[in-house]
Symmetry: C2
Subunit: 371 residues, 2 copies
């Protein structure tokens, strides 16, 4: 490969992967998972109307998707009370984070996030040569004041804040987030990742204000709308910042059926409400199972429950491994002290019945493995 003239940034990068997907793990194991509760997918699935819309769009897939995502954007604009010029549709929040990093990050650019927050954000920042400034969580919450301080200190053009948070499931109230927005210096763009917002209490998100030039909010059809495999996310922000995405995005990159599905999903708010209720029930059930096994579930405003296993990271890792051996896919935080925990996505009753049966064995096996 030596003769190939990769850019210096590319040469410096590891061939890293933010996450190993469950299909890869299944192939390595030689058998499928019985419960898929590791990627914060929405096991309750999309609205039947969204499924139908995607199926109806399949014969028309010979057409490129609308590069402006006009219909979806128009519906979202009405839903959110913003203009279409305040919305950018992308291939999931991942795709939008990639573009956002590209707009603001060049080699050596400092970018602030929380230590152990979403790895794919770091992956994109590093991918453009940026340098991650990681601020510790504070009592299992992202730490708004410390994040702001660090962004100010290193003059970061980009600050990532996820509310509700992944992987801890914790959240800040809207007034705290509004305080961040009000305190932000104008040279820092706040990327407010609200992927899990629909699962959170009412008072979690401050009002959308697209007059702020340096706040961009990311939302998705992957979580509450149950369409992770469709790859539809959206960014909300000032028209100037949103418009800049047009300089770098793949204009014809959106799957046509996915756009139709997202529109139908958005229009089925009754189904969304039922999903949210289902997820709330699943969270309670996971918490109950954890407690029954002597573990401590943390409060969650997401579609997963993070569970404090009460010991160090080695034990948490062993629990993840032991559940994996029982064909139950979960994940865990990867930075101390959060890595004392495991993270289990909301599942259907049948998924959680499998969890309930497996967890005592897994805990036993994890303890055995460590002795």
């Amino acid at each position: 490969m030596s003769a190939l003239r990769f850019t210096p940034v590319i040469q410096s990068l590891p061939a890293s992967v933010p996450f190993v997907g469950p299909e890869i793990q299944e192939r390595a194991k030689g058998r499928p998972y019985r419960a898929r509760l590791g990627a914060n997918e929405n096991v309750f699935g999309p609205s039947p109307k969204a499924i139908r819309a995607m199926q109806d769009a399949a014969p028309e897939i010979w057409k490129y998707g609308d590069s402006a995502s006009h219909d979806l954007k128009t519906a979202l604009a009405a839903h959110l009370g913003v203009g279409v010029e305040n919305l950018m549709i992308g291939a999931g929040i991942d795709g939008l984070l990639n573009s956002l990093a590209r707009l603001l990050v060049e080699p050596g650019t400092p970018v602030v996030t929380s230590a152990g927050a979403y790895p794919t954000f770091n992956y994109h920042v590093n991918g453009y040569g940026g340098e991650i400034e990681a601020v510790p969580f504070r009592e299992d919450h992202e730490d708004p004041l410390a994040l702001l301080d660090r962004a100010h200190e290193v003059k970061a053009p980009l600050l990532y804040f996820c509310n509700p948070d992944n992987p801890m499931g914790s959240w800040h109230r809207a007034d705290v987030v509004q305080g961040m927005i009000d305190t932000l210096t104008e040279q820092t763009v706040l990327c407010l990742d609200e992927a899990y917002l629909e699962f959170a209490p009412e008072n979690t998100a401050p009002p959308i204000d697209v007059s702020r030039p340096n706040v961009i909010r990311m939302r998705t059809f992957s979580k509450a709308y149950g369409m992770a495999g469709a790859r539809v996310g959206y960014a909300i922000g000032h028209a100037d910042l949103i418009g800049a995405f047009n300089k770098v995005r793949n204009h014809f990159g959106m799957n046509r059926a996915a756009q139709a599905g997202a529109l139908a999903a958005l229009q089925d708010q009754d189904y969304l409400a039922r999903t949210i209720a289902n997820v709330a029930g699943a969270r309670d059930r996971i918490a109950q199972i954890a407690t029954e096994n002597g573990l401590t579930p943390l409060p969650s405003a997401t579609n997963f429950v993070t569970i404090d296993c009460g010991e160090g990271p080695e034990f948490a890792k062993a629990v993840v491994k032991a559940l994996d051996d029982l064909d139950i896919f979960i994940r865990m935080p990867f930075v101390a002290p959060q890595n004392r925990c495991i993270r289990i996505s909301a599942g259907r009753p049948e998924d959680l019945a499998l969890l309930q049966t497996a967890l005592p064995t897994a805990l036993h096996n994890a303890r055995e493995a460590l002795t």
Copy 2:
């Protein structure tokens, strides 16, 4: 926007769009096209088996797609006689060109292509600050020797060559392309865009040789397989170059249903053969319609026919406009001297019947408009 600290490259970029999509033009006109023959989409559509596979995948869209695209890659590897490590799946060739440019282009990097070749390639190169070195076409063909000379002269790390070519529909024989590969200096990566290859005569593509470290071939399910809206393309090359995509790609960026659809499409080679025959018939019909109207169709190895209108670019533009007024969507080359032509995608008999009826009127109206 002034306070936002976009990178210098981003600040230098226009808010440009490689193409305006037909939906945008339809909304501007206030009515739909009667024939959609401008974007080289495959109006004959995908295999019914691919449609069924996408429809069957819709209820499972709550799962992220397999980040390794294992099933599709394995099938493609067998089909092409290469290893899975020689294949990268991406969101269309557009998405793969974006990643390839990112791997090799930084501000000031010279990149060689043909003047008037695929604009989306230039868009991505410019998007990373690269400088396009454009080599003129030679008698409506891309000019292999001149491209190689220029790449050598400017020490380009990346050279783009599309065979068969878009927008002219012309092509070079396999031995000419093999000559390019053999002559290439090791410091230049040849990006061989073969989006239209399935429509070309047998002897158009040299054998795939993944031992070449600096040749990458791009193919797609958008054209012959009729799945432009699904966004599935693939790159074939040396494992080291292919592997480098893992440093920058969106690992979970592929639509799950699209992967299933592409696999089913690949497995229905009988349908592909019928599509190729349908397209060949449509090309003949377009050529006949052109000739009947005193225009000169150029030979084509693609799913479109480029037609020499026999006058300058103003007339060609007026013809495109006049057909647009009659609700027939076509496009045209945008660099002289190719911009004396219009470009019409292969359509079904009913699409071409509309073209046949409209073209005399359009030519008349175009001449009127210019007097």
